[in-house]
């Protein structure tokens, strides 16, 4: 799930930027028909933006909705960001990106070259459990139809964030709207299986959830993007099933072992190690309970 995203986004990422005047942003304005002008955005005025080309003496007013794309000047230190991401310094990345994107906030409704950063933020906000903000980014990207694949991805994150926030009804409604509630056969897409499994797990239907996750792992094992989060979810659900059948703790531990082997030094590995400690606790509780019963 995250691999593609990171690859996509980090391909050009960053460390902004030239000093920006609060109201004056150097940018390329692209209009329908791909006619474009280099210049500076002077201001935003409701549905209008004021733009001044490099050659013109005065600014012109253009309807925001008529702009096809804004290409802002953003410099990027991709190596540094890649390193931070590899080190799972998500909060640092978020903080940097927030700072970088702040001056462009009022142009968030206009398609721009910042979408790729918003996508990264959407993902990182989700990873750090800030579901509302992840959803806010997802909503913005969903409206931007320049990259259908990214739109699809954002829909996935929106659903995941709703589930993460425990908003079952809204998640179910959204999934029905996207047609994800049906057709969960063996050849269903891994994202559909993953989201539905997450939702079922939230509703404590662990065996059903487990079957769907197992399908991701069994039938999409060559897809490293979805395998990684699916493996973690798999370990989590096996853990929940352990409450009824302690043998499932063994299963969860086996999955964790494999995560460590295959995805060392990843977010999933970090989560899996925490889960391992939780399982140890659950086992101890169970043993204590059994000894008390005896």
């Amino acid at each position: 799930m995250n691999g593609n995203f990171i690859t996509l986004t980090l391909a050009g990422v960053f460390a902004l930027s030239a000093a920006l005047e609060a109201a004056q942003l150097p940018a390329k304005l692209v209009m329908p028909g791909d006619k474009s002008w280099e210049g500076t955005i002077i201001a935003r005025d409701g549905e209008w933006i004021e733009f001044q080309t490099g050659t013109s003496a005065r600014a012109i007013r253009i309807g925001a909705k008529t702009v096809k794309e804004l290409v802002f000047e953003v410099k990027i230190d991709s190596d540094k960001l890649n390193e931070m991401n590899r080190n799972r310094e998500y909060e640092r990345i978020i903080s940097s990106l927030d700072r970088v994107l702040a001056p462009f906030a009022e142009f968030g409704d206009i398609p721009s070259n910042l979408t790729v950063y918003k996508a990264l933020l959407m993902e990182l906000r989700y990873k750090t459990g800030d579901y509302d903000k992840s959803m806010a980014y997802a909503d913005q990207i969903i409206m931007d139809d320049r990259d259908p694949a990214l739109q699809d991805k954002s829909r996935v994150f929106k659903a995941l964030s709703l589930i993460g926030a425990g908003r079952v009804d809204e998640a179910e409604k959204l999934m029905a709207e996207y047609g994800w509630s049906e057709g969960l056969e063996d050849d269903a897409s891994p994202e559909k299986l993953y989201i539905t499994a997450k939702l079922l797990a939230l509703k404590k239907q662990y065996a059903d959830a487990m079957e769907l996750v197992a399908k991701i792992i069994a039938f999409n094992s060559q897809d490293p993007d979805w395998m990684q989060p699916a493996e973690l979810l798999c370990a989590e659900i096996y853990t929940e099933l352990g409450a009824q059948n302690p043998m499932m703790y063994d299963s969860a531990e086996e999955v964790i072992r494999q995560i460590s082997l295959l995805y060392k030094n990843t977010n999933e590995d970090d989560q899996a190690q925490k889960l391992k400690i939780r399982i140890e606790g659950l086992r101890a509780e169970q043993e204590l309970k059994q000894s008390e019963e005896v």
């Binding site: 063996d186 996750v213 197992a214 399908k215 792992i217 069994a218 490293p224 299963s251 086996e254």
Partner: protein
């Protein structure tokens, strides 16, 4: 893999061009006669215009003149010319000569172009595939200080491939990884990745491989056929070495054949199209040849792949097995399920079906497992695994004691085609054996016996056959067919001298003889058993039963000690008992014998011995009951009462100790039979006082004491307590049979349907063995009656009578049954039911009157007025005193009414007059109604 030659060559070429002389051209001529400056100038000019062949003689001439110089300028000129000469040879395709010159260059100083020279040398060795030399050159190149990025990349590329070709797998990985990371061309990167995978597989360095695979699988390299075949081969090898985890992690990267072929096909098309376009544009023959070779390589790997026998399903099955083995059950399940769904009739599909069911059992999804099994059995009773699956399901249900479920499978057991192989015969015999046990445990002994019979008849040599003979005997024994049981038990002993059930068979042989009233044979068999198996778990019972035989013998002058021998056996029975039940039987049988001999003190001693021996496990209530009886006989009523009170107090806070409730009832009986009113009152006070002295947390005991006190104070107070408890909605966990009985009665009396249901359900499920449980049945029957569910009433009564028969407390059931049948207008059945009441002496009393009255009603309903009149007449003639004359009054009225109906007014009036004269009825409330009636008729 010649791509390095080509790719490396291109890179080298670029570097070389950058290093070219920039001097002028010269024409080929007789250089020997020219001055050195002229020769150099000629060479320079020719190189400038790309005439490498022409430049060679000039360069050779310069080298021949300067090669021996030792001054720095001369050495430098010679080295520069050597390098350029080598380059010229390379350009004209004479690598051998070029490499010879490069060797000279690298052996001399200065070497300003050493890096390039090394790379050129290495490239030269590609043609001869001299990998050792390439490795050595690449190593030398990498050892140079301050290497440019491009040099480092090329050196690693060379080194990696050389080591790969030399099968130095581990050493190849690092340089190849470097090359893969910095390759500018996708094709080079891909090929490096594929070599890395192969090298890691060969080096069996799984952890590094698994770390690299996710990245590789984010690229199109994953579609490389050789890569997939490598992974699959390695996975298979590991699987066969039982290295399941590593096998799994390799296997699961393998893509399906069609996906690989599809991608390869597209790639070939793309490459061919590009090649055609480039050929038209004009490219070197060598490049054309090389690109054609690349296409051919792909096509060859496609052919290899196509020719492979189908592997996808086998790989899927193996992955499933590995998942299951490493306890990743659900992953295994979905894979097996898929295999089964796509090939339900194939061998692999059926095997997958079996595996999927095994996993469902492992994860506790029993309902799903059974659903799959039943569907399979229905679809394919002749399936390969029909017996195995049936066996699995039956065994699981037997273990869980779902015997009805086992029995339900009989149709499937019988639907499986007749076994043809020994294995199948053995499995089929097992199925019948399990089915037999299902029936046996469901108490369907006849069917159980039939199934054991199937094994004995059709699978006589199977493993379960010997046991089947014993257990069939048991089925006969359970239905009292001692004769056939005896045959089987004897047969078992004859056929299985050292069989597991030899001892039990002998014991049961004795039981059968006893049942057949062959007392001497029974006694002999019990004696033989006791002698042969003195430590067997059944020996206590053998002693007890032999004691029963002795006790039943008439003492004679010749043999006056039968009871003594019986008592000796019972004592042994207690000593040898391994269960409380065995000990209890012996102890209480012995007590009965002592009672026959009026040995009250012995009873007390025996019961104390029994209670000491079995402590909490003992049937304390029964024992205390016997002690109390004996004490009462010895005139020790106070001691008996004290013993009862002590037992109540000791065990009374445990609701499950039902014996305490029995003692409570006995205490009430003793109190009403042997205590004066004053003492009874004193006992009630004592019970009340105890309630104030007991810890308030002993809630069960406190409630029991309250109940005992109320019962001691009479039925009305007990009933009031029942109503009070009902009203208080008392927590059922603190109730015991005695309090539940009162509450059930109260609920029935008040017509509280919800409570009748709640209490009776709780009572029945919690104390199913209680002798007071009939109160629950009565409440349940009253509930059905209140709901107008006549069949429900009859069902409950049927159950109650099945459990309690015609116990003294069960008259209500027979009356209610008759009433219900009457209501359903089943008059004949109702009359028969009423009539049955009269057959139970213990029910003599008002129930008799009610039954007789009921019979009259039945006849009246059928229009048989004579008979009806007769029944009513008998009510007031025979049962005048019952229920304060109520029944007699009803009898008079009903008889008079029938007489009126018969038109015999005078008879009717006389009947009514007689009622008013009868001392049992003339003060009855109904008498006033009769007086009014007579007045209307004008009779004074």
């Amino acid at each position: 893999m010649k791509f390095f030659n080509r790719i490396g060559g291109s890179a080298l070429k670029a570097s070389m061009l950058a290093a070219l002389f920039c001097s002028g051209a010269a024409l080929a001529q007789d250089y020997k006669s020219m001055g050195i400056t002229g020769v150099v100038g000629s060479a320079d000019r020719m190189l400038q215009r790309g005439d490498y062949r022409g430049a060679i003689p000039a360069l050779e001439e310069v080298i021949s003149r300067t090669g021996g110089l030792t001054d720095p300028t001369g050495k430098d000129t010679a080295q520069t010319c050597r390098f350029q000469l080598a380059r010229a040879y390379y350009q004209v395709g004479d690598f051998a000569s070029g490499m010879g010159v490069l060797e000279d260059y690298l052996e001399n100083e200065p070497r300003k172009k050493e890096r390039l020279a090394l790379r050129m040398m290495a490239q030269g060795f590609f043609d001869t595939e001299d990998w050792d030399k390439i490795e050595s050159l690449a190593d030398r190149l990498l050892a140079l200080p301050d290497l440019e990025k491009d040099d480092r990349y090329n050196a690693n590329l060379l080194l990696g491939q050389a080591r790969y070709r030399l099968e130095k797998w581990t050493e190849a990985v690092d340089p190849l990884s470097y090359a893969a990371e910095f390759a500018k061309e996708e094709q080079v990167r891909g090929l490096c990745q594929i070599m890395i995978v192969r090298a890691l597989v060969e080096a069996e360095n799984w952890s590094v491989l698994f770390g690299k695979l996710p990245a590789i699988y984010r690229t199109d390299s994953k579609y490389d056929i050789n890569l997939n075949l490598t992974l699959m081969k390695a996975g298979k090898a590991l699987y066969e070495q039982d290295d399941f985890l590593n096998a799994l992690l390799l296997y699961r990267w393998v893509l399906p054949r069609e996906e690989l072929l599809d991608f390869a096909n597209k790639r070939v098309t793309r490459l061919e199209k590009k090649l055609q376009a480039d050929v038209k544009r004009g490219i070197a023959d060598a490049e054309i040849e090389e690109r054609r070779g690349q296409i051919t390589n792909i096509q060859e790997s496609m052919t290899t792949l196509r020719e492979l026998p189908p592997y996808e399903d086998e790989v899927t099955f193996r992955i499933g097995q590995i998942y299951a083995t490493v306890k990743r059950y659900w992953e295994g399940y979905v894979l097996f399920d898929k295999l089964y769904q796509q090939d339900r009739d194939g061998e692999l599909g059926e095997a997958a079906m079996l595996q999927s069911v095994l996993i469902l059992y492992d994860v506790g999804e029993i309902a799903r497992a059974e659903e799959r099994i039943l569907l399979y059995l229905t679809e394919k009773p002749d399936g390969i695994y029909a017996r195995t699956l049936l066996s699995m399901m039956m065994r699981d249900n037997l273990i869980k004691q779902n015997f009805a479920r086992v029995v339900e499978l009989r149709t499937h057991v019988e639907a499986v085609p007749a076994p043809q192989t020994e294995d199948d015969r053995s499995l089929q015999a097992d199925l019948h054996f399990m089915l037999s046990f299902g029936y046996f445990q469901s108490r369907e002994y006849k069917s159980a016996g039939e199934q054991f019979g199937v094994i004995l008849d059709d699978y006589a040599k199977s493993d379960p056959a010997p046991d089947s003979e014993y257990y069939r005997g048991m089925t006969y024994l359970m239905v009292g067919d001692y004769k056939n049981a005896l045959n089987d038990f004897k047969g078992y002993q004859q056929n299985n001298e050292y069989g597991e059930h030899v001892a039990a068979s002998l014991f049961r042989e004795a039981v059968c003889e006893f049942g057949l009233e062959n007392i001497a044979e029974a006694e002999a068999a019990f004696s033989k058993f006791i002698e042969t198996f003195p430590e067997n778990g059944l020996v206590s019972e053998a002693y007890s039963m032999r004691g029963d035989i002795e006790a039943s013998k008439e003492a004679t002058n010749d043999d006056p000690y039968t009871l003594d021998r019986a008592l000796a056996d019972y004592r042994k029975g207690i000593d040898k008992a391994t269960t409380q039940m065995q000990a209890s039987y012996a102890a209480f049988q012995a007590a009965k014998v002592y009672k026959l001999e009026y040995k009250w003190q012995e009873i007390i001693d025996l019961m104390n011995y029994y209670m000491d021996r079995w402590e909490e496990q003992a049937d304390v209530a029964e024992a205390v009951f016997w002690v109390g009886q004996a004490q009462i006989e010895l005139g020790q009523v106070d001691e008996a009462v004290a013993a009862y009170l002590d037992s109540i107090e000791r065990f009374g806070n445990d609701a499950t100790q039902q014996g305490v409730d029995k003692i409570m009832l006995e205490l009430i009986k003793v109190a009403s039979g042997h205590l004066s009113d004053e003492d009874r009152e004193g006992l009630a006070v004592k019970l009340k006082l105890k309630q104030t002295n007991i810890d308030a947390r002993a809630t069960v005991l406190l409630l029991r004491l309250r109940v005992a006190q109320a019962m001691l104070q009479g039925d009305d107070i007990a009933a009031a307590l029942g109503a009070e408890l009902l009203e208080q909605n008392v927590d059922l966990t603190i109730t015991s049979p005695a309090s539940l009985a009162l509450m059930c009665d109260a609920a029935a009396k008040t017509g509280n349907i919800d409570e009748m249901e709640r209490l009776s359900d709780y009572f029945m499920t919690t104390y199913e063995e209680s002798e007071l449980l009939w109160h629950a049945y009565r409440a349940k029957a009253e509930k059905s009656k209140a709901e107008g569910d006549d069949w429900g009433v009859l069902q409950v009564i049927d159950d109650a009578q099945g459990m309690f028969g015609a116990d003294p407390d069960m008259g209500w059931a027979q009356i209610l049954k008759a009433e219900t049948e009457f209501k359903m207008e089943k008059y004949a059945e109702a009359e028969a039911s009423y009539n049955m009441v009269m057959g139970v002496a213990e029910w003599r009393g008002p129930l008799f009157a009610e039954a007789m009255y009921g019979m009259g009603k039945c006849r009246l309903a059928k229009g048989d007025l004579e008979a009806a009149h007769s029944f009513f007449q008998r009510v007031y003639l025979l049962y005048k005193s019952y229920s304060d004359g109520d029944w007699a009054a009803k009898g008079y009225l009903a008889a008079a009414d029938v007489a009126f109906k018969m038109g015999e007014e005078e008879k009717a009036v006389n009947t009514l007059k007689a009622m008013l004269e009868d001392v049992y009825t003339n003060t009855n409330p109904l008498a006033e109604q009769v007086r009014q009636q007579l007045k209307k008729l004008g009779v004074e």
